[in-house]
Protein backbone atom coordinates (compact mmCIF):
# COMPACT_ATOMS: atom_id res chain seq x y z
CA UNK A 1 0.00 0.00 0.00
CA UNK A 2 1.64 3.19 -1.18
CA UNK A 3 -0.02 5.55 1.26
CA UNK A 4 -0.05 3.21 4.22
CA UNK A 5 1.05 5.07 7.31
CA UNK A 6 1.48 2.14 9.67
CA UNK A 7 3.47 -0.92 8.70
CA UNK A 8 3.67 -3.60 11.36
CA UNK A 9 5.53 -6.69 10.23
CA UNK A 10 5.62 -9.61 12.68
CA UNK A 11 5.67 -7.08 15.49
CA UNK A 12 6.48 -8.81 18.78
CA UNK A 13 7.07 -7.87 22.35
CA UNK A 14 8.26 -10.28 25.01
CA UNK A 15 8.76 -9.50 28.70
CA UNK A 16 11.16 -11.38 30.92
CA UNK A 17 9.69 -11.62 34.38
CA UNK A 18 11.34 -13.01 37.47
CA UNK A 19 9.58 -16.09 38.79
CA UNK A 20 8.85 -16.14 42.49
CA UNK A 21 9.27 -19.36 44.38
CA UNK A 22 7.10 -20.04 47.36
CA UNK A 23 7.92 -19.48 51.00
CA UNK A 24 11.01 -18.32 52.80
CA UNK A 25 13.25 -21.01 51.33
CA UNK A 26 11.96 -20.04 47.92
CA UNK A 27 12.76 -16.39 48.56
CA UNK A 28 16.36 -17.33 49.35
CA UNK A 29 16.63 -19.49 46.25
CA UNK A 30 15.27 -16.58 44.19
CA UNK A 31 17.96 -14.37 45.66
CA UNK A 32 20.79 -16.72 44.74
CA UNK A 33 19.47 -18.17 41.55
CA UNK A 34 16.76 -16.01 40.08
CA UNK A 35 14.51 -17.76 37.62
CA UNK A 36 12.83 -16.01 34.72
CA UNK A 37 9.96 -16.75 32.49
CA UNK A 38 9.18 -15.06 29.21
CA UNK A 39 5.77 -13.61 28.47
CA UNK A 40 4.90 -12.99 24.85
CA UNK A 41 2.62 -9.99 25.20
CA UNK A 42 2.46 -9.45 21.45
CA UNK A 43 3.51 -12.11 18.98
CA UNK A 44 4.08 -11.75 15.23
CA UNK A 45 1.38 -9.15 14.67
CA UNK A 46 1.29 -7.83 11.10
CA UNK A 47 -0.97 -5.19 9.64
CA UNK A 48 -0.86 -2.07 7.53
CA UNK A 49 -3.03 0.98 7.92
CA UNK A 50 -3.82 3.40 5.09
CA UNK A 51 -3.99 7.10 5.83
CA UNK A 52 -7.34 8.26 7.17
CA UNK A 53 -8.62 4.92 8.43
CA UNK A 54 -10.34 4.50 11.79
CA UNK A 55 -9.51 1.27 13.54
CA UNK A 56 -10.81 -0.40 16.66
CA UNK A 57 -8.25 -2.63 18.31
CA UNK A 58 -10.12 -5.16 20.40
CA UNK A 59 -9.23 -8.00 22.69
CA UNK A 60 -9.86 -9.33 26.18
CA UNK A 61 -7.93 -7.96 29.16
CA UNK A 62 -4.26 -8.82 28.95
CA UNK A 63 -4.45 -9.65 25.25
CA UNK A 64 -1.70 -7.20 24.31
CA UNK A 65 -3.70 -4.13 23.27
CA UNK A 66 -1.90 -1.59 25.45
CA UNK A 67 1.46 -3.16 24.70
CA UNK A 68 0.79 -2.65 20.99
CA UNK A 69 -0.30 0.97 21.54
CA UNK A 70 2.84 1.67 23.57
CA UNK A 71 4.98 0.29 20.75
CA UNK A 72 3.06 2.35 18.19
CA UNK A 73 3.57 5.42 20.38
CA UNK A 74 7.32 4.79 20.59
CA UNK A 75 7.49 4.39 24.36
CA UNK A 76 8.08 0.66 24.30
CA UNK A 77 10.74 -1.04 22.23
CA UNK A 78 9.57 -4.05 20.20
CA UNK A 79 11.54 -7.22 20.82
CA UNK A 80 10.91 -8.53 17.33
CA UNK A 81 9.59 -7.64 13.92
CA UNK A 82 9.51 -4.31 12.20
CA UNK A 83 7.36 -1.27 12.81
CA UNK A 84 7.20 1.98 10.90
CA UNK A 85 4.65 4.74 11.43
CA UNK A 86 4.64 7.81 9.16
CA UNK A 87 8.01 6.57 7.92
CA UNK A 88 9.56 6.64 11.40
CA UNK A 89 10.78 3.81 13.57
CA UNK A 90 8.83 4.98 16.64
CA UNK A 91 11.25 3.82 19.32
CA UNK A 92 14.55 4.71 17.65
CA UNK A 93 13.36 8.11 16.46
CA UNK A 94 11.04 8.83 19.37
CA UNK A 95 11.88 12.50 19.95
CA UNK A 96 11.20 13.49 16.35
CA UNK A 97 8.40 10.97 15.86
CA UNK A 98 6.20 12.01 18.79
CA UNK A 99 5.86 15.50 17.29
CA UNK A 100 3.67 13.88 14.66
CA UNK A 101 1.32 11.78 16.74
CA UNK A 102 -1.33 12.23 19.39
CA UNK A 103 -1.82 9.75 22.23
CA UNK A 104 -4.63 9.45 24.76
CA UNK A 105 -4.63 7.01 27.64
CA UNK A 106 -8.09 6.80 29.19
CA UNK A 107 -6.60 5.82 32.53
CA UNK A 108 -3.71 8.29 32.54
CA UNK A 109 -3.39 11.98 32.02
CA UNK A 110 -0.82 13.87 30.01
CA UNK A 111 -2.00 17.16 31.48
CA UNK A 112 0.19 18.86 34.03
CA UNK A 113 -1.38 17.94 37.30
CA UNK A 114 -1.30 21.27 39.09
CA UNK A 115 -1.97 23.52 36.12
CA UNK A 116 -5.26 24.85 34.87
CA UNK A 117 -6.19 23.02 31.66
CA UNK A 118 -5.74 26.18 29.59
CA UNK A 119 -2.19 26.54 30.99
CA UNK A 120 -1.41 22.96 29.93
CA UNK A 121 -2.77 23.71 26.47
CA UNK A 122 -0.76 26.96 26.31
CA UNK A 123 2.32 25.01 27.26
CA UNK A 124 1.66 22.53 24.47
CA UNK A 125 1.11 25.45 22.10
CA UNK A 126 4.70 26.49 22.83
CA UNK A 127 6.04 22.95 22.71
CA UNK A 128 4.53 22.35 19.27
CA UNK A 129 5.06 25.98 18.13
CA UNK A 130 1.40 26.43 17.15
CA UNK A 131 0.55 29.92 15.83
CA UNK A 132 -1.92 31.89 17.96
CA UNK A 133 -4.68 32.02 15.32
CA UNK A 134 -4.52 28.27 14.72
CA UNK A 135 -4.50 27.65 18.46
CA UNK A 136 -7.69 29.69 18.90
CA UNK A 137 -9.42 27.99 15.98
CA UNK A 138 -8.67 24.53 17.31
CA UNK A 139 -9.66 25.46 20.82
CA UNK A 140 -12.97 26.75 19.48
CA UNK A 141 -13.58 23.48 17.65
CA UNK A 142 -12.73 21.41 20.75
CA UNK A 143 -14.99 23.61 22.83
CA UNK A 144 -17.86 23.23 20.40
CA UNK A 145 -17.86 19.44 20.31
CA UNK A 146 -16.22 18.47 23.60
CA UNK A 147 -17.69 21.33 25.64
CA UNK A 148 -14.49 22.38 27.39
CA UNK A 149 -15.89 25.74 28.55
CA UNK A 150 -15.56 26.07 32.29
CA UNK A 151 -13.05 23.29 32.77
CA UNK A 152 -10.34 25.27 30.96
CA UNK A 153 -9.77 27.32 34.10
CA UNK A 154 -9.71 24.28 36.41
CA UNK A 155 -6.48 22.56 37.52
CA UNK A 156 -6.23 19.03 36.10
CA UNK A 157 -6.19 17.47 39.56
CA UNK A 158 -9.69 18.82 40.26
CA UNK A 159 -11.34 17.49 37.09
CA UNK A 160 -13.83 14.64 37.10
CA UNK A 161 -12.95 11.63 34.96
CA UNK A 162 -15.20 12.75 32.11
CA UNK A 163 -13.81 16.27 32.17
CA UNK A 164 -10.25 15.01 32.36
CA UNK A 165 -10.59 12.68 29.38
CA UNK A 166 -12.14 15.48 27.31
CA UNK A 167 -9.29 17.79 28.26
CA UNK A 168 -6.76 15.06 27.54
CA UNK A 169 -8.22 14.46 24.09
CA UNK A 170 -7.99 18.19 23.37
CA UNK A 171 -4.36 18.13 24.54
CA UNK A 172 -3.55 15.15 22.31
CA UNK A 173 -5.10 16.70 19.21
CA UNK A 174 -4.03 20.29 19.71
CA UNK A 175 -1.15 20.01 17.23
CA UNK A 176 -3.43 18.35 14.66
CA UNK A 177 -1.42 15.12 14.35
CA UNK A 178 -2.09 12.97 11.26
CA UNK A 179 -2.46 9.93 13.49
CA UNK A 180 -3.89 9.47 16.97
CA UNK A 181 -3.71 6.45 19.25
CA UNK A 182 -6.29 6.12 22.00
CA UNK A 183 -6.03 3.48 24.69
CA UNK A 184 -9.49 2.91 26.19
CA UNK A 185 -10.58 6.54 25.80
CA UNK A 186 -14.14 5.92 26.98
CA UNK A 187 -13.45 3.69 29.97
CA UNK A 188 -15.58 4.54 32.98
CA UNK A 189 -17.43 7.40 31.29
CA UNK A 190 -21.16 8.08 31.37
CA UNK A 191 -23.32 7.78 28.26
CA UNK A 192 -23.44 11.52 27.52
CA UNK A 193 -19.67 11.99 27.68
CA UNK A 194 -19.11 8.84 25.63
CA UNK A 195 -21.44 10.17 22.95
CA UNK A 196 -19.59 13.49 22.87
CA UNK A 197 -16.23 11.83 22.56
CA UNK A 198 -17.45 9.49 19.83
CA UNK A 199 -18.91 12.41 17.89
CA UNK A 200 -15.69 14.28 18.22
CA UNK A 201 -13.53 11.35 17.13
CA UNK A 202 -15.78 10.51 14.21
CA UNK A 203 -15.76 14.12 13.10
CA UNK A 204 -11.98 14.29 13.42
CA UNK A 205 -11.58 11.14 11.36
CA UNK A 206 -14.15 11.91 8.67
CA UNK A 207 -13.62 15.67 8.25
CA UNK A 208 -9.95 16.12 8.97
CA UNK A 209 -8.81 12.74 7.68
CA UNK A 210 -7.00 11.95 10.92
CA UNK A 211 -6.06 8.29 11.21
CA UNK A 212 -7.40 6.80 14.43
CA UNK A 213 -6.51 3.63 16.27
CA UNK A 214 -8.35 3.04 19.49
CA UNK A 215 -8.51 0.17 21.91
CA UNK A 216 -11.76 -0.38 23.71
CA UNK A 217 -14.01 -2.84 25.44
CA UNK A 218 -17.02 -0.77 24.49
CA UNK A 219 -18.60 -2.01 21.30
CA UNK A 220 -20.53 1.25 21.06
CA UNK A 221 -17.18 2.84 20.24
CA UNK A 222 -16.66 0.32 17.47
CA UNK A 223 -20.09 0.87 15.93
CA UNK A 224 -19.76 4.66 16.16
CA UNK A 225 -16.22 5.15 14.96
CA UNK A 226 -14.46 2.17 13.43
CA UNK A 227 -14.38 1.16 9.79
CA UNK A 228 -11.99 -1.64 10.58
CA UNK A 229 -11.58 -4.01 13.46
CA UNK A 230 -8.43 -5.78 14.60
CA UNK A 231 -8.89 -8.40 17.28
CA UNK A 232 -5.91 -9.54 19.32
CA UNK A 233 -6.01 -12.43 21.74
CA UNK A 234 -3.10 -13.75 23.79
CA UNK A 235 -0.75 -11.59 21.81
CA UNK A 236 -1.83 -12.84 18.41
CA UNK A 237 -3.96 -11.18 15.80
CA UNK A 238 -7.06 -13.34 15.37
CA UNK A 239 -9.19 -11.09 13.18
CA UNK A 240 -8.69 -8.25 10.73
CA UNK A 241 -11.66 -6.88 8.80
CA UNK A 242 -14.70 -4.63 8.84
CA UNK A 243 -17.15 -4.75 11.76
CA UNK A 244 -19.63 -6.26 9.32
CA UNK A 245 -17.31 -9.01 8.15
CA UNK A 246 -16.49 -9.79 11.77
CA UNK A 247 -20.16 -10.52 12.30
CA UNK A 248 -20.40 -12.50 9.10
CA UNK A 249 -17.23 -14.46 9.56
CA UNK A 250 -18.49 -15.76 12.84
CA UNK A 251 -22.10 -15.62 11.66
CA UNK A 252 -23.24 -18.11 14.28
CA UNK A 253 -25.14 -16.71 17.14
CA UNK A 254 -28.15 -15.16 15.43
CA UNK A 255 -31.15 -16.02 17.54
CA UNK A 256 -34.77 -16.77 16.83
CA UNK A 257 -37.07 -16.60 19.84
CA UNK A 258 -40.78 -17.48 19.72
CA UNK A 259 -43.61 -17.38 22.21
CA UNK A 260 -45.74 -20.45 21.58
CA UNK A 261 -47.56 -21.76 24.69
CA UNK A 262 -48.82 -24.89 22.91
CA UNK A 263 -45.44 -25.93 21.44
CA UNK A 264 -42.80 -28.26 22.85
CA UNK A 265 -39.06 -28.57 22.24
CA UNK A 266 -39.69 -32.01 20.76
CA UNK A 267 -42.14 -30.67 18.16
CA UNK A 268 -39.83 -27.81 17.25
CA UNK A 269 -36.76 -30.04 17.07
CA UNK A 270 -38.64 -32.33 14.73
CA UNK A 271 -39.71 -29.43 12.50
CA UNK A 272 -36.15 -28.21 12.05
CA UNK A 273 -34.31 -31.52 12.31
CA UNK A 274 -33.12 -31.43 8.70
CA UNK A 275 -31.51 -28.02 9.36
CA UNK A 276 -29.62 -29.56 12.26
CA UNK A 277 -31.11 -27.16 14.80
CA UNK A 278 -32.26 -27.80 18.34
CA UNK A 279 -34.48 -25.63 20.53
CA UNK A 280 -34.37 -24.64 24.17
CA UNK A 281 -37.30 -23.64 26.30
CA UNK A 282 -35.87 -20.50 27.86
CA UNK A 283 -39.04 -19.63 29.80
CA UNK A 284 -42.53 -21.02 30.16
CA UNK A 285 -43.82 -21.26 26.57
CA UNK A 286 -40.83 -19.36 25.20
CA UNK A 287 -38.43 -21.17 22.87
CA UNK A 288 -35.15 -20.17 21.36
CA UNK A 289 -32.75 -21.50 18.75
CA UNK A 290 -29.34 -20.25 17.70
CA UNK A 291 -28.34 -20.62 14.08
CA UNK A 292 -25.61 -19.78 11.61
CA UNK A 293 -26.69 -17.37 8.86
CA UNK A 294 -24.02 -18.71 6.54
CA UNK A 295 -25.79 -22.05 6.24
CA UNK A 296 -29.37 -21.32 7.19
CA UNK A 297 -31.54 -18.65 5.55
CA UNK A 298 -33.47 -16.76 8.20
CA UNK A 299 -36.63 -16.64 6.02
CA UNK A 300 -36.69 -20.42 5.53
CA UNK A 301 -36.25 -21.02 9.24
CA UNK A 302 -39.05 -18.62 10.18
CA UNK A 303 -41.41 -20.11 7.60
CA UNK A 304 -40.77 -23.62 8.79
CA UNK A 305 -41.31 -22.64 12.41
CA UNK A 306 -44.58 -20.83 11.69
CA UNK A 307 -46.03 -23.81 9.84
CA UNK A 308 -45.01 -26.29 12.52
CA UNK A 309 -46.42 -24.59 15.61
CA UNK A 310 -48.83 -21.80 16.44
CA UNK A 311 -46.75 -18.73 17.33
CA UNK A 312 -47.97 -15.76 19.34
CA UNK A 313 -44.87 -13.67 19.11
CA UNK A 314 -41.56 -13.88 17.33
CA UNK A 315 -38.23 -12.12 17.81
CA UNK A 316 -35.13 -12.19 15.66
CA UNK A 317 -31.84 -10.97 17.02
CA UNK A 318 -28.75 -10.58 14.92
CA UNK A 319 -25.56 -11.55 16.68
CA UNK A 320 -24.03 -8.39 18.15
CA UNK A 321 -20.32 -7.78 17.89
CA UNK A 322 -20.32 -8.52 21.57
CA UNK A 323 -21.64 -12.03 20.98
CA UNK A 324 -19.18 -12.52 18.17
CA UNK A 325 -16.28 -11.41 20.31
CA UNK A 326 -17.38 -13.60 23.19
CA UNK A 327 -17.42 -16.53 20.86
CA UNK A 328 -14.04 -15.60 19.44
CA UNK A 329 -12.46 -15.31 22.88
CA UNK A 330 -14.05 -18.55 24.06
CA UNK A 331 -12.90 -20.34 20.95
CA UNK A 332 -9.27 -19.43 21.56
CA UNK A 333 -9.71 -20.29 25.22
CA UNK A 334 -10.55 -23.82 24.17
CA UNK A 335 -7.76 -24.03 21.61
Amino acid sequence: MADAIIHAEQLSRAFRLPTRREGLAGAFRDLLNPGYRTIHAVRDVSFTVPRGQSIAYLGPNGAGKSTTVKMLAGILKPTGGDLTVLGYHPHQERREYVRNIGVVFGQRSTLWYDLAVIESLRLLQRVYAIPEITFRQRLARFDEVLGLGKLLATPARKLSLGQRVRADIAAALLHDPPIVFLDEPTIGLDVAVKARIRDFLRHTNRELGTTLLLTTHDLGDVEAIAERVLVIDRGELVFDGTPRSLREELGRGDRLTIVAPQASTAALDAATADLGLTWDEVAEGKFQTVYDTRTIATAALVQRTLTAVSVEDLELREASIEDVLRELYERSERA
Binding site: R13, K70, I75, R94, V103, R108, S109, L115, R126, A129
Partner: protein, 264 residues
Protein backbone atom coordinates in the same frame (compact mmCIF):
# COMPACT_ATOMS: atom_id res chain seq x y z
CA UNK B 1 14.13 28.52 18.83
CA UNK B 2 10.66 27.10 19.52
CA UNK B 3 12.35 24.76 21.98
CA UNK B 4 13.66 27.58 24.15
CA UNK B 5 10.20 29.14 24.10
CA UNK B 6 8.72 25.80 25.10
CA UNK B 7 10.95 25.55 28.14
CA UNK B 8 10.18 29.14 29.09
CA UNK B 9 6.58 27.91 28.96
CA UNK B 10 7.31 25.46 31.77
CA UNK B 11 8.90 28.18 33.89
CA UNK B 12 6.04 30.58 33.19
CA UNK B 13 3.40 27.98 34.02
CA UNK B 14 4.96 27.29 37.42
CA UNK B 15 5.30 31.01 38.03
CA UNK B 16 1.61 31.54 37.33
CA UNK B 17 0.67 28.57 39.50
CA UNK B 18 2.70 29.77 42.49
CA UNK B 19 1.57 33.37 42.16
CA UNK B 20 -2.01 32.16 42.27
CA UNK B 21 -1.21 30.25 45.47
CA UNK B 22 1.09 32.83 47.01
CA UNK B 23 -0.53 32.58 50.45
CA UNK B 24 1.49 29.46 51.15
CA UNK B 25 4.67 31.55 51.28
CA UNK B 26 3.38 33.70 54.15
CA UNK B 27 4.08 31.02 56.75
CA UNK B 28 7.49 30.48 55.11
CA UNK B 29 8.46 34.12 55.55
CA UNK B 30 7.75 33.91 59.26
CA UNK B 31 9.53 30.60 59.74
CA UNK B 32 12.68 31.77 57.95
CA UNK B 33 12.83 34.71 60.37
CA UNK B 34 12.58 32.24 63.22
CA UNK B 35 15.35 29.99 61.78
CA UNK B 36 17.69 32.96 61.53
CA UNK B 37 16.76 34.06 65.06
CA UNK B 38 17.52 30.62 66.48
CA UNK B 39 20.91 30.30 64.77
CA UNK B 40 21.82 33.91 65.54
CA UNK B 41 21.10 33.13 69.21
CA UNK B 42 23.32 30.07 69.11
CA UNK B 43 26.16 32.00 67.45
CA UNK B 44 25.88 34.83 70.00
CA UNK B 45 26.15 32.27 72.79
CA UNK B 46 29.24 30.69 71.21
CA UNK B 47 30.98 34.04 70.77
CA UNK B 48 29.93 35.22 74.24
CA UNK B 49 31.78 32.22 75.66
CA UNK B 50 35.09 33.73 74.61
CA UNK B 51 36.51 33.48 71.11
CA UNK B 52 36.70 36.59 68.94
CA UNK B 53 36.85 34.47 65.85
CA UNK B 54 35.53 31.02 64.98
CA UNK B 55 36.47 29.37 61.69
CA UNK B 56 37.84 32.69 60.42
CA UNK B 57 34.58 34.56 61.11
CA UNK B 58 33.92 37.24 63.73
CA UNK B 59 30.48 37.44 65.32
CA UNK B 60 29.27 40.10 62.90
CA UNK B 61 30.33 37.94 59.94
CA UNK B 62 28.84 34.80 61.43
CA UNK B 63 25.49 36.55 61.85
CA UNK B 64 25.68 37.85 58.30
CA UNK B 65 26.57 34.32 57.16
CA UNK B 66 23.54 32.73 58.74
CA UNK B 67 21.17 35.45 57.48
CA UNK B 68 22.46 35.31 53.90
CA UNK B 69 22.55 31.50 53.93
CA UNK B 70 18.89 31.21 54.93
CA UNK B 71 17.77 33.93 52.55
CA UNK B 72 19.60 32.14 49.73
CA UNK B 73 18.00 28.86 50.74
CA UNK B 74 14.55 30.42 50.45
CA UNK B 75 15.24 31.02 46.76
CA UNK B 76 16.79 27.78 45.50
CA UNK B 77 14.62 25.29 47.39
CA UNK B 78 12.24 23.18 45.30
CA UNK B 79 10.60 19.78 45.41
CA UNK B 80 11.43 18.37 41.99
CA UNK B 81 12.87 15.25 43.62
CA UNK B 82 9.42 14.61 45.10
CA UNK B 83 7.62 15.65 41.92
CA UNK B 84 9.66 13.38 39.66
CA UNK B 85 9.16 10.51 42.12
CA UNK B 86 5.40 11.14 41.93
CA UNK B 87 5.52 11.06 38.13
CA UNK B 88 7.27 7.71 38.32
CA UNK B 89 4.90 6.23 40.86
CA UNK B 90 1.81 7.40 39.03
CA UNK B 91 3.23 5.99 35.81
CA UNK B 92 3.17 9.43 34.21
CA UNK B 93 6.88 9.28 33.48
CA UNK B 94 6.25 7.14 30.39
CA UNK B 95 3.76 9.75 29.20
CA UNK B 96 6.46 12.39 29.47
CA UNK B 97 8.20 10.47 26.68
CA UNK B 98 5.21 11.18 24.44
CA UNK B 99 5.97 14.88 24.35
CA UNK B 100 8.71 16.26 22.13
CA UNK B 101 10.44 17.86 25.09
CA UNK B 102 13.39 16.75 27.13
CA UNK B 103 11.95 15.68 30.46
CA UNK B 104 14.87 16.63 32.74
CA UNK B 105 15.16 19.99 30.98
CA UNK B 106 11.42 20.61 31.38
CA UNK B 107 11.71 19.83 35.10
CA UNK B 108 14.66 22.20 35.45
CA UNK B 109 12.69 24.89 33.63
CA UNK B 110 9.78 24.35 36.01
CA UNK B 111 12.16 24.62 38.95
CA UNK B 112 13.61 27.82 37.46
CA UNK B 113 10.09 29.26 37.32
CA UNK B 114 9.70 28.34 40.96
CA UNK B 115 13.05 29.94 41.91
CA UNK B 116 12.08 33.12 40.09
CA UNK B 117 8.74 33.29 41.88
CA UNK B 118 10.37 32.58 45.21
CA UNK B 119 13.00 35.26 44.66
CA UNK B 120 10.25 37.82 44.09
CA UNK B 121 7.54 36.94 46.57
CA UNK B 122 9.41 34.93 49.20
CA UNK B 123 13.11 35.73 49.34
CA UNK B 124 12.76 39.52 49.18
CA UNK B 125 9.98 39.77 51.80
CA UNK B 126 11.87 37.30 54.01
CA UNK B 127 15.16 39.20 53.64
CA UNK B 128 13.72 42.57 54.59
CA UNK B 129 12.79 41.94 58.27
CA UNK B 130 15.95 39.85 58.75
CA UNK B 131 18.11 42.70 57.44
CA UNK B 132 16.30 45.21 59.64
CA UNK B 133 16.59 43.21 62.86
CA UNK B 134 20.03 41.64 62.47
CA UNK B 135 23.31 43.43 61.79
CA UNK B 136 23.73 42.03 58.29
CA UNK B 137 26.83 43.36 56.56
CA UNK B 138 26.73 44.38 52.91
CA UNK B 139 28.79 42.27 50.44
CA UNK B 140 32.53 42.65 50.93
CA UNK B 141 33.02 44.35 47.56
CA UNK B 142 31.31 44.98 44.24
CA UNK B 143 33.04 41.86 42.90
CA UNK B 144 31.74 39.73 45.75
CA UNK B 145 28.23 41.21 45.29
CA UNK B 146 28.17 40.27 41.60
CA UNK B 147 29.89 36.97 42.35
CA UNK B 148 27.22 36.19 44.94
CA UNK B 149 24.36 36.88 42.49
CA UNK B 150 25.91 34.62 39.87
CA UNK B 151 26.74 32.10 42.59
CA UNK B 152 23.09 32.08 43.67
CA UNK B 153 22.06 31.11 40.13
CA UNK B 154 24.64 28.31 40.09
CA UNK B 155 23.52 27.24 43.58
CA UNK B 156 20.02 26.83 42.19
CA UNK B 157 21.46 24.74 39.34
CA UNK B 158 23.41 22.42 41.65
CA UNK B 159 20.54 22.03 44.09
CA UNK B 160 18.07 21.22 41.30
CA UNK B 161 20.37 18.80 39.47
CA UNK B 162 20.93 16.86 42.72
CA UNK B 163 17.15 16.79 43.17
CA UNK B 164 16.71 15.48 39.63
CA UNK B 165 19.20 12.67 40.31
CA UNK B 166 17.22 11.69 43.40
CA UNK B 167 13.90 11.89 41.53
CA UNK B 168 15.01 9.95 38.45
CA UNK B 169 16.45 7.20 40.63
CA UNK B 170 12.81 6.40 41.48
CA UNK B 171 12.59 4.71 38.06
CA UNK B 172 14.86 2.01 39.50
CA UNK B 173 13.94 2.05 43.18
CA UNK B 174 10.29 3.24 43.15
CA UNK B 175 10.71 4.73 46.61
CA UNK B 176 12.91 7.74 47.18
CA UNK B 177 11.59 9.05 50.49
CA UNK B 178 14.69 7.77 52.31
CA UNK B 179 17.06 9.23 49.74
CA UNK B 180 15.13 12.51 49.79
CA UNK B 181 15.48 12.81 53.56
CA UNK B 182 19.17 11.96 53.51
CA UNK B 183 19.72 14.46 50.70
CA UNK B 184 17.79 17.21 52.50
CA UNK B 185 19.82 16.66 55.65
CA UNK B 186 23.12 16.75 53.80
CA UNK B 187 22.01 19.80 51.82
CA UNK B 188 21.56 21.78 55.06
CA UNK B 189 24.30 20.33 57.22
CA UNK B 190 27.06 19.52 54.72
CA UNK B 191 26.04 22.40 52.48
CA UNK B 192 26.66 24.95 55.19
CA UNK B 193 23.17 26.27 55.91
CA UNK B 194 23.20 25.29 59.57
CA UNK B 195 26.87 26.10 60.20
CA UNK B 196 29.60 27.67 58.09
CA UNK B 197 31.79 24.78 56.96
CA UNK B 198 34.81 26.61 58.36
CA UNK B 199 33.43 25.67 61.80
CA UNK B 200 34.08 22.01 60.91
CA UNK B 201 37.40 20.23 61.63
CA UNK B 202 39.98 20.67 58.86
CA UNK B 203 39.77 17.07 57.64
CA UNK B 204 35.97 17.35 57.30
CA UNK B 205 36.28 20.59 55.36
CA UNK B 206 38.69 18.93 52.94
CA UNK B 207 36.37 15.95 52.49
CA UNK B 208 33.33 18.17 51.91
CA UNK B 209 34.94 19.76 48.86
CA UNK B 210 34.48 16.37 47.22
CA UNK B 211 30.69 16.69 47.57
CA UNK B 212 28.43 19.08 45.67
CA UNK B 213 26.55 20.29 48.76
CA UNK B 214 29.08 22.95 49.85
CA UNK B 215 28.75 24.57 46.42
CA UNK B 216 25.05 25.23 47.09
CA UNK B 217 25.33 27.42 50.21
CA UNK B 218 28.81 27.69 51.70
CA UNK B 219 30.52 28.74 48.47
CA UNK B 220 28.17 31.58 47.43
CA UNK B 221 27.84 32.93 51.00
CA UNK B 222 31.65 32.88 51.37
CA UNK B 223 31.87 34.85 48.13
CA UNK B 224 29.42 37.36 49.65
CA UNK B 225 31.56 37.69 52.79
CA UNK B 226 34.73 37.98 50.72
CA UNK B 227 36.34 34.99 52.46
CA UNK B 228 36.45 33.11 49.14
CA UNK B 229 37.58 34.78 45.89
CA UNK B 230 34.64 34.98 43.50
CA UNK B 231 36.42 33.42 40.46
CA UNK B 232 37.53 30.39 42.50
CA UNK B 233 34.10 29.86 44.08
CA UNK B 234 32.24 30.30 40.81
CA UNK B 235 34.69 27.98 39.06
CA UNK B 236 34.02 25.25 41.62
CA UNK B 237 30.26 25.75 41.25
CA UNK B 238 30.41 25.69 37.45
CA UNK B 239 32.41 22.46 37.63
CA UNK B 240 29.71 20.89 39.81
CA UNK B 241 26.98 22.05 37.44
CA UNK B 242 28.83 20.38 34.56
CA UNK B 243 29.47 17.14 36.48
CA UNK B 244 25.90 16.89 37.77
CA UNK B 245 24.37 17.75 34.40
CA UNK B 246 26.39 14.92 32.89
CA UNK B 247 25.25 12.52 35.63
CA UNK B 248 21.62 13.52 35.10
CA UNK B 249 22.03 12.92 31.38
CA UNK B 250 23.51 9.45 31.95
CA UNK B 251 20.97 8.45 34.58
CA UNK B 252 18.08 9.72 32.45
CA UNK B 253 19.32 7.72 29.47
CA UNK B 254 19.39 4.60 31.62
CA UNK B 255 15.95 5.44 32.96
CA UNK B 256 14.52 5.81 29.44
CA UNK B 257 16.08 2.49 28.50
CA UNK B 258 14.64 0.93 31.59
CA UNK B 259 11.19 2.25 30.73
CA UNK B 260 11.18 1.51 27.00
CA UNK B 261 13.39 -1.56 26.68
CA UNK B 262 12.58 -3.45 29.83
CA UNK B 263 9.05 -2.10 29.86
CA UNK B 264 9.11 -0.24 33.18
Amino acid sequence: MPDVLAYWGFARARLADLLANRARFLAGIASYFIYVTVYAGIFRAIYAAGPDEVGGLRLQEALTYVAVAWVLRSMYTNGIDREVTQDVRRGDIALALLRPVDYPASRLATAAGEALTRALIFTLPAALPIALVYPVQPPASLASALGFLLGAVLAFGIYSLVNLLVGISAVFTEHTVGIQRAKNGMMDLLGGVLLPLSFFPAWAQDALWLLPFQAVTYTPVSIYLGTLPAPLGLGVQALWVAVLALLVRLLWRRAVNHLTIQGG
